[in-house]
Subunit: 192 residues, 2 copies
DNA sequence: ACCATAACGGAGGCATGCCTCCGCTACAAC
DNA sequence: GTTGTAGCGGAGGCATGCCTCCGTTATGGT
């Protein structure tokens, strides 16, 4: 537990060696990402295979259970979020936090399934959360130390405050931006 | 269109005359409310009939389509929210708004299906939204006129800001309360 | 008390999704 | 090129959900 919790877990599934197999593997992951985004975690596996242009058997050979497939997609997405946190680290404290949150919001906007999983409980999800928190939590800490962000908010609080904005279908980007602005204002060192 | 848009629409379905039929009708509505809350708008109709302790045929006689059933539940919930807005009207401006939003959040907390529908587009949902907005929007207007709430937020903005908080499974009520507080602070007449 | 009939409930046909199994294909190692 | 084998794909069995239809039940008016 104490070694380094900052890497998303490896998945049980391995990318195949043969060229055609690898093509199918990647196509499946892409199709699954889309399908999960569109229909949530319960998307039809046969549909995913169809989208990927492979037989249902190929899907099951690569990902024996729905969970395996979902996990693979999920870990990939979390990795991207971790990278974004690293990228933001160069900016000044408050801007860095805002930049990452903005990324988080627009990134999750269409990823319904990903969002659903934020609250799910399993070894898998737990360690993904740990990795993401480890990558992005320092941004909040810095913003708090610099006095820009209120001290009584935990990183978990912030994510929940903001992640709702993620899942609503906004009229336009302008509105989403405005609403996110409200949330961020609530996060600034407040009046009281 | 211009008469009065402040009442939720009547549903196509009517409560039966016979006593036993009425019992079943109500049991179905209750079961459906639970099922939709638990599994979202796609909950199994056979399961709903089972929960209500009636045959599947009875469900279909009362609610010919899934939409009819869903609409009936939905309208009922919206009505409650409208009532809550009327109740809050007695309080001072800012407190009234906060009271209703608090109600909105805790009320929707478990109602996943209801939440999903906030963004859905149909005659039905549109007029429900109109009714709810008509009931609760004045609370925001008052809070803005009194100078407590920032003027650049529309009621729609506020709902979206807050409705996200609704759908996240919080660790405990205390956290939800805290996060809602952040959102509300962001809504107050701001620093800039 | 009777009975016309509104209401009941579940069997069953159809569609869709899950997953296994196995005969066929084509890659890559030689 | 040949060939052993990893990989392919879809038929098909099972489960579940949707919805219709109709023989049975029991309510409420008389």
């Amino acid at each position: 537990m104490s070694e380094q919790a900052s890497e998303p877990p490896r998945v049980a599934v391995r990318r195949p060696h043969r060229a055609d197999a690898r093509r199918n593997f990647d196509a499946l992951l892409d199709a699954a990402r889309d399908a999960f985004a569109e229909h949530g975690a319960g998307a039809s596996l046969e549909d995913i295979a169809r989208r990927a242009g492979v037989g249902i058997g190929t899907l099951y050979r690569n990902f024996p259970t729905r969970q395996d497939l979902f996990d693979s997609v999920y870990v990939g997405e979390i990795e991207k979020l971790c990278d974004a946190a690293r990228d933001a680290a160069d900016l000044p404290a408050w801007e860095a936090l805002v930049a990452w949150l903005r990324h988080f919001v627009s990134y999750m906007a269409t990823k319904r399934a990903l969002y659903e999983s934020l609250n799910r409980d399993s070894e898998m999800f737990r360690s993904c959360r740990v990795a993401m928190y480890a990558a992005a939590e320092p941004l909040l800490a810095r913003a708090q130390q610099s006095g820009a962000a209120r001290a009584d908010a935990s990183f978990d609080d912030v994510l929940r405050l903001v992640s709702g904005i993620t899942s609503a279908a906004f009229v336009d980007d302008e509105q989403r931006e405005r609403v996110l602005g409200f949330a961020l204002d609530g996060l600034r060192t407040g009046p009281a």
